[in-house]
Amino acid sequence: MLLSVENITVRYGRLTALRNFSLTMEQGETLFVTGPNGAGKSTLLKSIAGVVAPVTGTIHFHEQDVGGQPPEGIARLGLSMVPEGRHVFGSLTIEENLILGAGMRRDKARMAENLASVYDLFPVLSERKDSHAGVLSGGQQQMLVIGRALMTEPQLIAIDEPSLGLAPKIIDQVYDTLTRLRDERGLSLLIVEQSTTRAVMAGGRMVMLRSGELVLEGDARELSKGDALNAAYFGFEEH
């Protein structure tokens, strides 16, 4: 098992953001985490990445307990996080942003190889590699942070709302890239999206969160056939 989250509860002060939540992922799997605003999706990713600490429960990555590990420790295990809002380093050049992801490997040859492969994947980044990342458009920034995550040679990329603030055409490109990475490199993807549309389009397993709790789990396409999806999303009672 690649990732296993067991019964975690996360609180911010008196507010409980996640309650007794569990999740497992296999190598090479794509898992969508969906749900309305404030459901606890970002909190889930932050706890997996070691940014917030759950009050109870355990998180294992590659059978290794990562509870209490700092974010840099978890990144070094092969879990790369792309947080909401992308977080490019605007004052760094594009190439510096990418090189940053390779810092922990300390292997110049591999770094050059990975850099070439990222530029191959996103030619637009190579054209502008010496400009500041702050000047890139939203779509280009999304490509940059995916490229930066790839530079860490991850086994799992956790990505929070990759479609946020992007034009539909650009979102298509982002998802094309993500599915290509999954198919060609066997990368595991944990994707958080507010809407279920992308999950249904891309296919794969989906879990849905609402108010910090798991409300639905299953194959995205199967779930989309009935009313269950909408009912769970909006919290309608069964009649």
Partner: protein, 304 residues
Amino acid sequence: MTAVLQILFDALSVGSIYALGALGIALIFGVMRLVNFAHGDYIAFCVFAMLWPSLDVVAIVFIGNLPWFLLIPVILGIGAGLSIISEILVFRRLRDANPATMMITSFALGFVIHNVLLMFYSSRPKAINLWSNLSLPVEIMGARIPLLQVITIVMTIVILLALVTFLRRTQFGVEMRAAAEDFTMARMLGVKANRVIMAAFGVSGALAGCIALILATQTGVADINMGLPVMLVAFVATVIGGLGSLHGAVIAGFLIGGVSVLLQVFLPLEARPFRDAFVYSAVIASLLWRPQGLFAPKSSKERV
């Protein structure tokens, strides 16, 4: 012409001290959101480190007698060491505390260092004679400039160039810049928090050591309060420059130095005692015009 040159050198050498101080404060603020008010006391500590502890009126120069090529690295090392020790013993425990708590802690740490100096050296300023031949003037294009001013400016430029090269050309430098901009994101890319923060404290402390050497040579006095005015102006410079922006801090440091020297020269005689009031009016005007600072980083500052 010579007068202009003289003013220029005055402005640059005063600005150099402020710029080095502002850089020391901005480096730590960048990675930790901490305004380290103990920085001024690091400067005083470095000055007194040259003396043997005694309550006598006459200073007993000890380390200060080392030849310059040993004294400089030793004092820089003492500054860096003191700064790193305060990180490990004090600030590391407050890493997740809010900025106000950290700031007040830095005040407390400053008082502790201050009182340690008081205990071992007494509060009386002591004359020290460090590199006194540096105050002899040299002639540059007709103007007579104290050699120390020239050395201060050249040293500052060398330090700034070295720092820029380090920050731009090395992997660790890129990591430090990234950490200053968005610490959590940098960590999620595998940048080790402790290493980056310790390096920032180390460089910052070494800069305090630089200032100590310049001030001690310039004034010929060791005074436990000597770091405070520099620290205050340097802090103001980091704010005007835009908190979190390293080059903003440096430029603002030079700017304040330049403005105060110009005011000193051109203010009418009876207004000169109030020079600092004019300097700070300029500071207020600058902040009203750009509250985020002259060189605020473009990226959003939202932090997880």
